[in-house]
Subunit: 136 residues, 2 copies
């Protein structure tokens, strides 16, 4: 089955109508081998470049948020004025190349288990994420 059909199925299963805009966005986001880290603006421009079709900026925002809510995208906190998203939704760590402003995935085995020795009463740990900043 073509990936387009997969996307349509996935969208339908998520109660999201498979519009051509959403399918194009899926194509840019998920038709790739490696994890993709991006800002909304990156994505907005890539859609034009890769599919030749314009999708309005509002729709890019809407779709990214819809996918985020469904758990198909992850938000990454970075010292930056723009929000980064990640197609790798698993719990994982990152390098951040400060000069290039680029995120690189770290495998969990590249970092090893992290043991948090402190706890706050009434709170439990939701996630543990390491950010390793890189310089030249």
């Amino acid at each position: 089955m073509s990936s387009k059909q997969e996307f349509i199925k996935k969208l339908r299963n998520s109660n999201l109508r498979p519009t051509k805009q959403r399918i194009n966005i899926c194509d840019v986001l998920f038709n790739r081998d490696k994890t993709f880290h991006f800002t909304i603006n990156d994505l907005f421009n890539l859609i034009k470049d890769k599919t030749g079709q314009k999708v309005s900026l509002a729709t890019v925002y809407n779709t990214v948020h819809a996918f985020h809510k469904k758990g198909y995208l992850k938000e990454i906190p970075i010292n930056s004025n723009q929000t980064y998203f990640d197609t790798n939704v698993s719990d994982h760590h990152h390098f951040f190349d400060v000069k290039e402003e680029k995120l690189i995935d770290l495998k969990n085995e590249d970092v090893g288990p992290i043991d948090i020795q402190k706890s706050i009463p009434g709170k439990k740990i939701k996630s543990v994420e390491v950010l390793v900043k890189l310089e030249d």
Copy 2:
């Protein structure tokens, strides 16, 4: 020597003229026992509350950036629309209480050494920071 005199000295040493606005900001930021995590807006409001004197928002931004540049404040990357700053400029980790939107310092001993097993050619590690998100 009063802390005010200390602040004046510190500002002079940093080639920053010790204006009453900057001294008030120092007072709010550095006259406290524990690490202080804040947004610009937090700080803006606290200055009014604690010192009874208004400092313009532009000056708060300017001063925070000046202090950041001098290394007296640290910027903390958080999933939020506002930038967080930290009076603890050492390399350290955080809890982030997602509900309260509050940062809590972790001592390095509470996390233990983190061993990064991967490297990127031509790049070296600048910092390693753990962010532990907390939920109820």
